[in-house]
């Protein structure tokens, strides 16, 4: 290619045509690999749903039946007749919603206090709350169990909810966001006669919906997926959460794969709904989750 004497901008372009072709071919190959990888990543999910509709003798059939024949939706009612999955589902939903509500409320309130007020000892209080991020749950689970037992909260909803009612991450997240709300808005509300709680309710809350939703999804997911804590404090069948119920179901009926897959699918539905409708907020939360500090 002869580009000498052409327009000055063309001088920058000194990759040969062959390089260009190689680059395009390389990109196509990489893309194909990534797309194939995505399909592979999806296979376990597809296998779970597909197996949940198979009769037990078809589970290990070769070639793999991706579309079950016969189609057995009864697996779902069968698994529910063996273990009260509806009750587990209700428990998890109740615990998840309460935990989420408490977390969002207290994180916003506390974040507001830290972001917009001056008082003696503020940085100490903030640092103290932030420092709890360093404590892994396993480090405090024994004393926490003793506390909850002393409150008579074993096998109860408060036992499942209260220890998780506030997260330091939530407080940090809300504080960071509320810092960006201009003080003039609060002063304007004060001039209009708003009290400090009034400012929280009428100014801060409506402006903080986005991070609140982000925090809500994260909290709900964590609560819904938690296994260790329910495992420690729940012994009554009727108080089990979905995660715990599924685990026990596997211990008792470890080879009833089609029923296990049905249970797993049930356990995933609410999370999937959240994911489909609120993916944007969830992704935002992932990005922010590393930034506590």
């Amino acid at each position: 290619m002869d580009t000498t004497g052409a327009m000055p901008t063309k001088k920058i372009q000194f990759h040969s045509e062959r390089d260009r072709v190689v680059r395009i071919v390389l990109r196509v190959v990489v893309l194909a690999l990534v797309v194939a990888g995505a399909v592979m990543f999806f296979l376990p999910v597809a296998y779970m749903v597909s197996s949940s509709f198979k009769q037990s003798t078809d589970i290990f059939k070769v070639p793999i039946q991706w579309l079950p024949n016969p189609f057995v939706p009864q697996n779902y009612s069968d698994s529910m007749s063996i273990a009260p999955f509806d009750r587990y589902f209700f428990n998890s939903l109740l615990v998840g919603l309460c935990t989420t509500f408490l977390n969002v409320f207290f994180a916003t309130l506390t974040g507001f206090g830290f972001a917009k007020y001056q008082f003696w000892g503020k940085s100490f209080l903030f640092l103290a709350i932030l420092s709890t991020l360093m404590i892994p749950f396993q480090a405090i689970m024994v004393p926490l169990f003793v506390i909850v037992r002393n409150f008579n909260w074993l096998n109860t909803y408060p036992g499942l909810i209260v220890p998780w009612a506030i997260s330091a991450f939530g407080v940090f997240l809300m504080r960071q966001f509320i810092l960006s709300i201009p003080d003039e808005l609060l002063d304007a509300a004060r001039i209009d006669g708003a009290s400090e709680p009034g400012i929280f309710w009428y100014v801060i809350l409506p402006l903080s919906v986005t991070p609140m939703v982000t925090l809500a999804i994260f909290t709900f997911l964590d609560s819904w997926n938690n296994l260790l804590w329910p495992l420690i404090i729940i012994t009554h069948t009727n108080m089990r959460t979905v995660s715990l119920g599924l685990t026990e179901f596997q211990t008792l009926h470890g080879t009833a794969y089609n029923l296990l897959m049905a249970g797993s699918t049930i356990a995933t539905i609410p999370v999937l709904i959240l994911f489909v409708f609120l993916q944007r907020y969830l992704i935002r939360g992932v990005v922010l989750s590393g930034l506590k500090g």
Partner: protein
């Protein structure tokens, strides 16, 4: 913030008391006799009121248990009879406990074995998936999907996938004739857990890497192009160096998360075969709630706390010194 760092060593209860006392005393001092509290004092008290309930919550459900865990680690305690002080016995026992060493080894193996492929895969995915192409959002979603699954569901589904006649061996059969037994083999079981962990985690860190990539100003690439850099040059000299803070962050967070692994092992292998997949969390749980050795479990949990604390402090430092913000 640093000048208050020393206060951390005061007991929270005592400190809180003195704090409230000071605020009230100041309120009384500032208050004019005619109008009660001034606006500013009132405002300060409101600020305190918004914050104190949360602090009390953490005092009850984080600081107190943490101190308690430390105390219990010096006792012999089985939940039924009163704890008995035994000094350093639990810690000495820990040093002599061959199984504990296995757990540490297994946990570190799981952390290192998972972290490296997770970072490489999530970085590669982020690099490819930050560019626009048809169907990109769908591909991103497919990689992210496993993140939302509960650990229990993942462990149960993958137990079926790893079944001697499950999906994985069915797909492998044409390639390897003698298909492996995944979770019943001492050698393969740890790898089986690492594979499913990478599967579930890669999407999470991919999202963080994509955010990091979007943070690199487009101008940098433009000016590199003007200077005649080709694509691989701008990757090595712009993308990678500027991605260093994000990579450090991902490294530390993933280590913190993987270190605490419990659910996969508890649900899928129960730590077996033998102790091949047993990890610290599971061993602490077993000692505490199956053998009722609360003292010994607490001593091990203190060790675990120290590990996580160091990692978290590194994380804070990375965020602060590299001044990361994606918002």
């Amino acid at each position: 913030m640093n000048k208050h760092g020393r206060e951390v060593f005061l007991t929270p209860g005592l400190w809180l008391f003195s704090l409230i006392l000071t605020e009230v005393r100041m309120a009384v001092k500032v208050a004019s006799p005619r109008r009660g509290l001034t606006i500013y004092t009132k405002r300060r008290l409101w600020g305190l009121a918004f914050v104190v309930p949360t602090f009390l919550f953490f005092a009850i459900f984080a600081f107190y248990p943490m101190v308690n865990a430390f105390v219990i680690s010096f006792t012999d305690y089985n939940l039924v009879s009163a704890p008995k002080l035994v000094g350093l016995t639990n810690y000495i026992h820990m040093l002599a406990d061959a199984r504990f060493k296995i757990m540490i080894g297994n946990t570190l193996g799981f952390v290192v074995g998972s972290t490296i492929p997770t970072i490489l895969i999530s970085l590669a995915l982020a690099l490819v998936l930050q560019r626009k192409f048809l169907g990109r959002d769908l591909v991103r979603t497919l990689y992210f999907l496993p993140v939302i699954f509960s650990g229990v569901v993942v462990a149960i589904v993958w137990r079926l996938l790893y079944h001697p006649y499950g999906l994985i061996n069915t797909l492998l059969e044409p390639i390897i004739h003698d298909t492996p037994r995944w979770i019943t083999s001492t050698y393969l079981a740890p790898w089986a857990l690492i594979i499913l962990n990478v599967w579930q985690s890669a999407g999470f860190y991919m999202v963080i890497f994509i955010a990091g990539l979007q943070n690199i100003p487009e101008d940098f690439y433009d000016s590199a192009k003007v200077d005649g850099a080709n694509q691989s040059q701008s990757f090595w000299y712009i993308t990678l160096p500027l991605l260093k803070p994000t990579s450090l962050l991902v490294l530390v967070i993933s280590m913190i998360n993987f270190f605490q692994t419990f659910t996969y092992q508890y649900v899928m292998t129960k730590g077996g075969p033998g102790d091949a997949t047993n990890v610290i969390s599971l061993y602490i749980y077993t000692n505490a709630f199956q053998y009722q050795y609360m003292g010994y479990a607490s001593a091990m949990s203190i060790v675990m706390f120290l590990f996580i604390m160091v990692l978290t402090l590194i994380q804070f430092r990375v965020v602060r010194t590299e001044n990361i913000s994606y918002v």
